[in-house]
Amino acid sequence: MRATWVAEMAGLRPSKRRHKLETDVELKLIPVMSLLVVLVPMLLQTAVFEQLAAVQLNLPSADDVAYNPEPTPQESGDSVSVAITYSGFRILSSKDTLKKVPRLADGSYDMDGFGEALAEVKKSFKSQEAIILLIEDGVLYDDIIHTMDTCRPLFPGISLAPGLQLPVEGEGGG
């Protein structure tokens, strides 16, 4: 007994364990495959490719009106508004027209030109955050959203208002 042990320690006898160097392992991939075949269609079905976002509208609430009954002359003097008309953009202060950006030749609104013009206007209205969009009736929703996108980095407080004609009763700042 003891002799065998000593012999083993000395490595005189090969281990009984098999040293099988070349293994012939076949991964069983078929179950994985079935799993994937189930998972992929399920995820494809629930996949959301178009993410929704929201554009918050600032409606004047009854509380606001009570709190701030009328803009001070300073505030109204500094206000900037953009008229979106059929002929193009017009950037207005409370006193006069600051800039005009006509439509492009193909009939679309010149968003780049408008962005540049607005950035220029922003220089003289540094502290002003609010802007009013005066929109004519026939202007398309898509153009309004894009105009809001252009305004947002410079003037985050965007309000909508009906066009240059007399504001409709009760419509408010939108």
Binding site: A47, L52, Q56, Y141, E169
Partner: protein, 147 residues
């Protein structure tokens, strides 16, 4: 003979990772009618589930259900209020307010989501904004697609 599926698994694994990445447990919480194609905006604001009003140049939907199937007369009329929409919205507003009174966990915030087709004129939009405002839905947001 064994089927050589390793490369197929490669493909599927990549697709799986990609899909899991775009997987959102929320999905579309608000329903959008098929015929409405929302405009695309840079806005990153998240959308919260709320009462939704969908509209295109022909029809108007409330919570995905058709309410007005011919909206043209409403666009053309000088009346700011869209009567059927006002009726439905003020009804749901009063229902929500009643719930909010009983259940403290519920608050009536007057949230509403306007889903407009990109080809809708402002004339219709302002009427809907006005009508929803009249029906006590003052916390309005416009639904858009993220860029």
């Amino acid at each position: 003979m064994t089927l050589n599926v390793t490369s197929m698994i490669d493909i599927f694994t990549i697709i799986l990772v990609f899909l899991l990445k775009s997987y959102s447990a929320e999905g579309h919480l608000i329903q959008i009618a098929e015929s409405i194609s929302l405009p695309v905006s840079e806005s990153q604001e998240e959308i919260h589930p709320a009462v939704s009003v969908g509209f295109n140049g022909d029809a108007l939907y409330v919570d995905g259900k058709l309410l007005i199937d011919d909206i043209v007369p409403y666009i053309e009329s000088d009346e700011m209020l869209i009567e059927p929409l006002y009726v439905v919205l003020s009804e749901s507003a009063s229902r929500l307010q009643a719930v909010a009174e009983i259940n403290e966990a519920v608050d009536f915030t007057g949230e509403i989501i306007l889903q407009g087709d990109r080809k809708v004129p402002f004339r219709l939009l302002k009427k809907i904004i006005y009508t929803a405002g009249e029906a006590q839905y003052v916390n309005q947001s416009l639904a858009v697609f993220k860029e």
